[in-house]
Symmetry: C2
Subunit: 313 residues, 2 copies
Amino acid sequence: MRALALTGGVGGAKLCFGLVQILQPDELRIVVNTGDDEEFHGLYVCPDLDTVMYTLAELSNPHTGWGIRNETFATLSALDRLGQETWFGLGDQDLATHIVRTNMLREGKSLSEVTEHLCGRLGLEHPIIPMSDYPVRTTVSTDIGVLPFQTYFVRHGCEPIVSSLGFEGSQSAKISAKFSEGLNSSDTLIFCPSNPYLSVAPILSVPGVRERIERFEGTRLAVSPIVGGQALKGPAAKILEELGEDVSCVGVARQYLGLCDTFVIDELDAELADDIRNLGMNVLVLNTIMNNNRDKIQLARHLLEAASESDGS
Amino acid sequence: MRALALTGGVGGAKLCFGLVQILQPDELRIVVNTGDDEEFHGLYVCPDLDTVMYTLAELSNPHTGWGIRNETFATLSALDRLGQETWFGLGDQDLATHIVRTNMLREGKSLSEVTEHLCGRLGLEHPIIPMSDYPVRTTVSTDIGVLPFQTYFVRHGCEPIVSSLGFEGSQSAKISAKFSEGLNSSDTLIFCPSNPYLSVAPILSVPGVRERIERFEGTRLAVSPIVGGQALKGPAAKILEELGEDVSCVGVARQYLGLCDTFVIDELDAELADDIRNLGMNVLVLNTIMNNNRDKIQLARHLLEAASESDGS
């Protein structure tokens, strides 16, 4: 098997953790959203890349899903003392990642190269790949104006009402070389249970990506991040509602029309399977709630089995 | 009185602390060596400026004289995990200073402007001024090669044998505007008890500075950092010896020929007063060992009194 996983942060990273326990490093590529990236204090921060990296390295904070466990915030307090805005909670250990990344980028390395270096240092063997080495910045049009993603997400705690999303820079961005290779050479594409608007749409906004996924010849699966009408994490449900979409796995499935063959919903949503079949997708009903490593591995195993079977069909 | 203090790190900063308790912000300018500055992990670090700043803000580590009290090193540990060299011990709180400075410099601010901003945020009212806004980098020629200053000082713990010092960039550097103003408008110049080779010589290497101090019309005092043939802090004694100079306050005084009217030695060295008078300087014998704030203020007061008297003479 050669799988390509597309993911955002926390929820998607959990599934990636499961995939990594089953697949060899040459059997899996993980492509990560970089629309959330932002500079803070001149340091280049990639929240989704870092969440995936920390999760796979088993460094992540189990309570939040993002950030590093046993983190401290001494630098942030000192930044506050120096008059800096500190609403984005950069931890001391986490800062090392941003410092090294920023320095390598300034030296002319690409984000792909930097990520590969960081992953290597953390002992990760499976490739973690930014969707693009070019800047793409998610912006959120809201009732209080157009906000950079992190301003919407962290500073305002997702409270503003969303009317649309933009992906600044995407028109001139290029797909990263390893993402492109992955699209060419993989037989299985997995949309992790990430926010379709905030995590997956930025990836699809990179020129050529949507079309290449539409034409992808292997098996394409997507896992709903909405279970029982609620987001397991983050503002997915709130945004679906504000954009006039069904707040359900069916609403999510509609975002994947033409991009996905098999849509994976949770056992709690089994009754909605027919609504999704009516969209022209196969449905797989699984336990998608990942409370522990066993859940993550089990979901990954079921997905990969389903992909193998459909491949043979 | 309008005083201009020239200083390096720990020892000089102690005297500056004393001066600041006596003089008003418009009566004192503190000019700081930047030859020790270095980039670590892409962050611009100014050890002497920071030591002075932290000392005056009463944030400094009382045990080391440099760094911040109650400091932690979580980011440094994480930088180590990411494969960075971590022989330069950047603390978590200290890093905030370097992050803000680096970001402001990248935005086009001068080091003088950045320093003024940082001092303002720390509640400091007396101007702390880098000797130059241009890069001047002290290099140390040793038996193991020419070393950047911090490599000599921290990485090798001052162990290599010094044959000479260089000040890279000094030829094209310019004196900072506020240092220049200070030279024009001050009536008292104080060389703090800093290393004459490592802290004072870089300041003198900036084009025009030595000549302007030679022509300075007010009172010029220098305080010996060597007491009883030993450096109170750092490698001053070792370097004096390696460069073939007397390891004593007399050896230091010779570095100030033509630059200083009154040389201040410690009570422990009172017997050497005549040797210094023979160099053509006045001698002031004081307690120069500053173990606590009272010592710092007392030394500052005695210096300022001596300056006032000689001014009237």
